[in-house]
Amino acid sequence: MTVIWRRLVVLQIPILGFSLVIGFLQSNLESAEQNFVQPPDRFGFGRPAMITDIEKLDIDVTPAGTGLPPGNGTAQTGTATWNRVCGSCHGPNGEGGTAAPVVGLEPQTGPPTVGNFWPYATTLYDYINRAMPRNAPGSLTADEVYGLVAWILARNEIIEDNAVMDARTLPQVTMPSSNRFVPDDRTGGPEIR
């Protein structure tokens, strides 16, 4: 074999191999296209949720009052519950203990509280009902939660001591910070916000 012939052979083999690979890929692609399965609009997974399934878990309360249960309470009825269940962590007057204060009126210097920061009274019902007392969440009755909500609102001088809090009155309470909250206006880009 001459040197030139040998070079050609060496070149030839990869070229041949390459075109074989291309041919193989092409035929594979074509068949893949034919066999490609479009995912369905729906898979049909899961089972339908019944009203009772939903009621068991759907505990949220919205600013419009949706989700507030029957029952009621006043700051007076709430005092006993507060002293018994909550004061140990948040302080006897709600001004803070091992846990943060829930009473405080001074917005500029004090820590954020229900009185000087929370925009919605309904959030108080939602949160106490779902997460408090911290050591036994979910253990309060609706009347107890309404009473505690009333107690905290009254200590923050937002409602009177004898005001009845229930599914109708609570959404009507206007909080001192009700119009302070604005949506995020950061958008990226060079400006620091």
């Binding site: 899961g46 959030t123 997460a131």
Partner: protein, 409 residues
């Protein structure tokens, strides 16, 4: 070869370590035992078989990275890690009611509200949907400790970690239940003792939100949401609700405690409070050299992490002279969207005291600000989403300390 083997003191000592031999021979710990002799260890470990294969891998006995736990969170040891994926057992944790123990066989996710078909999904149902994986960081929006000069990277901002998450796109699930086109928000609720709830815009559900069940390919860690959690890439960690039990589709936000009382930012006018500030702005930190290291003069590599919730990091600059001059650091590919990226820059320390800083820029053109600029923009009562440039000072002795002075009010 034979000579060097014979010169070892262990000989054919079987189960005893060299240190034990020395103690046994002299009755006291010999200083030789603690002074490394070059080449010796490379021979010692060849003298007896090591342990066999086992069920669960463990780190070397000489390596002990640890999270730093408080009562409410535990922080990733950023200074001990070299890559971008956080080992699952070192992923930061932040929870409001402790970590629940959830039996995956009895786990259910309820989706209801403004949907055509209120549905309950088991974990097996969720895993049956088309799966997708994505690498992204997860950062708590309360991720800044200003601290003292003796502060580790872990303590400065260890509430950020990165994972390859696997799960189903939330859009797939929303289509499955027939979410209304009038829906604007959904509530995500956890089944921990805080029954954590956050309102999330529907636009995120149809952008890149996921319900995930795997962390670096493995089941989620309990502290990170086992068996399934929401994942909102680039957004503050709290909104990626863990232990997800319920999604309620609605036309308005629910105004939960965690989006009113917490995770909101009072602004400089003393009145306005910024709400639903989900996206984590671009940030970086030098993780080496950092406190508590003491370095020598000569060449070092400045190394750190940068990330942005808005997309890709396009540039990281470092300064080795307290911010007077900045040089471009090298970014380690792949540079992913909404992901931690490694940056590195060579540095020759002459031995004179100085200060090292880093600042990140993302693809929107946003550059990580100084503490002063951030405070000027947000006022003194801002609490979350703080991403200021941080620094490390190098003293005469080579002692590296956190640049706490840069973050004074």
């Amino acid at each position: 070869m034979a000579d060097s083997r014979q010169s070892l003191p262990i000989g054919s000592s079987g189960g005893l370590t060299r240190r034990e031999i020395l103690v046994g021979a002299t009755g006291a710990v010999s200083t030789i035992a603690t002074t490394p002799v070059s080449g010796q260890q490379a021979l010692e470990t060849t003298r007896r078989p090591g342990r066999g294969p086992n069920e669960l891998g463990q780190r070397s006995q000489f390596v002990r990275p640890r999270r730093d736990p408080s009562t409410t969170s535990s922080r990733t040891p950023l200074q001990d890690l070299r890559g971008t994926l956080t080992p699952a057992d070192l992923h930061f944790e932040r929870h409001h009611g402790g970590v629940p123990a959830i039996d995956p066989d009895r786990y259910e996710l309820l989706i209801h509200g403004m949907v055509e078909r209120a549905t309950i999904f088991t974990l097996a149902d969720i895993k049956r949907f088309p799966a997708t994986s994505r690498i992204c960081f997860l950062e708590c929006s309360g991720n800044l400790r200003r601290g003292t000069p003796e502060t580790l990277p872990q303590m400065v901002c260890g509430l950020t970690s990165q994972t390859e998450w696997t799960g189903v796109r939330l859009s797939t699930v929303m289509e499955e239940v027939g979410a209304s086109s009038d829906a604007k928000w959904f509530l995500a609720e956890g089944q921990d003792a805080a029954v954590m709830t956050r309102s999330i815009p529907m636009s995120k559900a149809f952008d890149d939100a996921m319900i995930v069940y795997a962390q670096n390919g493995d089941a989620l860690m309990p502290g990170n949401g086992f068996p399934a959690r929401l994942l909102l890439p680039g957004w503050e960690g709290n909104a990626s609700v863990k232990w997800l039990r319920r999604i309620e589709v609605a036309d308005q936000p629910f105004m939960t405690r965690e989006e009113t009382s917490k995770y909101t930012d009072p602004l400089g006018d003393g009145r306005t409070v910024r709400q639903f500030s989900f996206v984590m702005d671009a940030r970086s930190i030098i993780t080496d050299p950092a406190y508590p290291r003491i370095i020598e003069p000569g060449w070092h590599e400045i190394r750190g992490l940068a990330w942005s919730g808005r997309g890709r990091i396009t540039r990281v600059e470092v300064s080795t002279d307290g911010g007077a001059n900045w040089q471009i650091a090298e970014l380690q590919p792949p540079v992913l969207e909404k992901a931690h990226v490694r940056f590195r820059a060579p540095w020759n320390w002459t031995g004179t005291p100085t200060e090292l800083l880093s600042r990140a820029t993302d693809e929107t053109g946003y550059t990580q600000p100084t503490w002063e600029v951030l405070r000027a923009a947000r006022g003194p009562r801002t609490r979350y989403h703080q991403n200021p440039i941080t620094s490390w000072t190098i003293g005469e002795t080579g002692q590296v300390l956190f640049g706490a002075d840069r973050l004074r009010s």
